[in-house]
Symmetry: C2
Subunit: 368 residues, 2 copies
């Protein structure tokens, strides 16, 4: 078994929970209900959920991986990980991250896991996997001692679209800091102060804790849900899905950040990580991520059969069999799939949600 | 038989030659080698070659229609006009308009036609068919008296992309003028003077003359070609295609304007026609034509399954089965076919030729 090791040579087996329950439509027309972002190959060579597992493969063996997915994506997940001894947990309905993490913590506790567990969103991009894994290893040591340790992404711009983590004043202990507070998405002026201060980090929702610590937090903050978890029968029992369905339907949709992190029982540490992270939250964000490594001399990023004349700063993704030709465009997004095409101002690509809304109202719900 | 009549009630049977030998690629990805512009339904409800015939159907009966097409388009032409007694002449290779008109004149002379013949490009757009036909009828009367009568399109802008016809000074005779000279594409300053003077018309290459007059012009200006025409055996003889092939291969590619009209034997008249003409020479030109009747409140023109959000002055043609969605675009052209997609700055759409050039050099010649 491969295990994490750093510094003192002491090795701790590490687990990871990969949260893949999202159902986003921000990457329409590639993302669909049946295939959300974490199953798309939009950066790199494999679907994001596989890349997420691959990235931590030096720390986490397959049999320590727990993938949490929606019911409608179970088959695709099992297919992608066929022949690998990963664990797959199926959520009956999406209820944001808190119930997902609670279910995974219960599952791991029942497996007998007392070791730290990394909680990883399945659909983020990280340019520097080595730096990322070093951060996780540091976080793991803090978690093994009973704390919750969250990665703090070193900010590179005054981003107003992310939550922030403020560290306490003072010197780091082994490269980590106590967390002073979590801050919701700030206004631009505040974001610029955060960036300048050097004491704020982006909250990527990536953290490490033991199942025991997590379940204690749920007992304190979501006691009814925690009680429901305890009442669940064996996971391989025939009525387990129905029990879980009942529990989930009675539970509010709430993020772990909001439910727990704002007022945790445990000491929370932040481990700064300058690892080239992006949540890849829009086509524009994807362009920025791919732009760093793939742009041509005019700033264009192409995928698939495509020909470009006199274009600048365009993102052209062609997943159809046909040819895509672009001429004289600037900052335009072209995404071509077999049954739908999107052409948009790249800087307005966050408005793709409006499209899926309109399609739902029209007679084109087949394209969702 | 329907015949033309105007004013004095005298009726002349009218013939028409529809020149459909073009092989343009300016409407890529819809136009292909196998299907040039005249076979596309890009404006109105039918292919342009059919619309051209339909437009003069009050003047020209089917059995007086001569369609001149390239060898590779004979089958499609016969299919489009199946069951109709039109004449189809097949050119072995393209040699511009002069040989095409010479061949048609010979064919009609052999049929015994002594009446005026309207020469019509197969791929032009005319908004006002009534005004157009009134112009042809006037031209027909002049042609019946032994002249060549050319339609002069009343200019609406200082266009530098067309040739012009200058009329002689003086009062019109029955709405027509003698031609002073033909002018090649002018510079902008000159074009503005033309527009202001009121004595210049756009040369659309649409004129009326008898086969006899036409053949006399060829005898004077292209004597070798005319001699070759005279040597051709019967059109239904087995070796006729080979004879015609030999004649065409030995003939230069030259326009009728250049070969004949610059120095004609016959008197040439211009018949002014303010009929909403366009040669539809580019995607932008098509946008202008369709824009007049089809634009939405934001100046967009759509065809096919398409959804538009916050777009202005865009042309979106979708001939694929899938959905096309556009978001936040301005003056952008989107043309989607089953095997190729073009997205371009609408005002640079004349550069489509560069694309077909690049495709020819690449491994994508199947898309030409």
């Amino acid at each position: 078994m491969r295990v994490a090791s750093e510094g003192d040579g002491k090795a701790i087996p590490m687990y990871a929970v990969v949260m893949a329950g999202g159902s986003g439509t921000r990457f329409w027309p590639l993302s669909r209900k049946a295939r959300p972002k974490q199953f798309l190959t939009i950066v790199g060579e494999q679907p994001m959920i596989q890349a997420t597992c691959e990235r931590v493969s030096t720390l986490v063996t397959d049999d320590h991986l727990v993938l949490v997915v929606g019911r409608e994506h179970e088959a695709e997940t099992r297919s992608l990980f066929a022949g690998r001894p990963v664990h797959v947990l199926v959520e009956p309905v999406g209820r944001n991250t808190a119930p997902c993490i609670g279910l995974a913590a219960l599952y791991l506790q029942r497996l007998g896991c007392r070791e730290p567990v990394a909680i990883l969103p399945a659909d983020h991009y990280i340019a520097d996997a080595d730096t990322f894994c070093r951060g996780l290893t540091r976080a793991e040591r803090l978690a093994a001692e009973g704390s919750i340790a969250i990665l703090g992404i070193v900010p590179t711009r005054p981003e107003t679209g992310y939550g922030y983590i403020e560290r306490e004043q003072g010197e780091p202990e082994n490269g980590t800091f106590r967390v002073a507070r979590f801050v919701e998405k700030p206004a631009m002026e505040e974001a610029m102060k955060f960036l300048k201060s050097g004491r704020f980090y982006w909250n990527a929702g990536i953290f490490v804790a033991t199942p025991r610590a997590l379940l204690a937090e749920f007992a304190a903050h979501m006691p009814e849900f925690r009680h429901g978890l305890d009442q669940l029968g064996p996971i391989d029992a025939p009525d387990f899905p129905a029990q879980l369905d009942q529990l989930y339907r009675g539970t509010q949709s709430i993020s772990f950040d909001y439910a727990v992190m704002e007022n945790p029982l445990h000491q929370v540490y932040v481990v700064p990580a300058d690892c080239g992270w992006s949540d890849v939250g829009s086509w524009y964000s994807l362009y920025e991520v791919r732009h760093n490594t793939e742009q041509d001399e005019a700033g264009n990023v192409h995928q698939g059969r495509a020909l470009s004349l006199d274009c600048r700063d365009c993102l052209v993704l062609n997943q159809s069999r046909g040819m895509v030709v672009t001429l004289g465009l600037k900052k335009i997004l072209v995404v071509n799939s077999e049954d739908a095409l999107l052409v948009a101002d790249l800087e307005r690509s966050q408005e793709v949600k409006r499209i899926t809304g309109l399609l739902a109202e029209s007679d084109s719900a087949d394209l969702l």
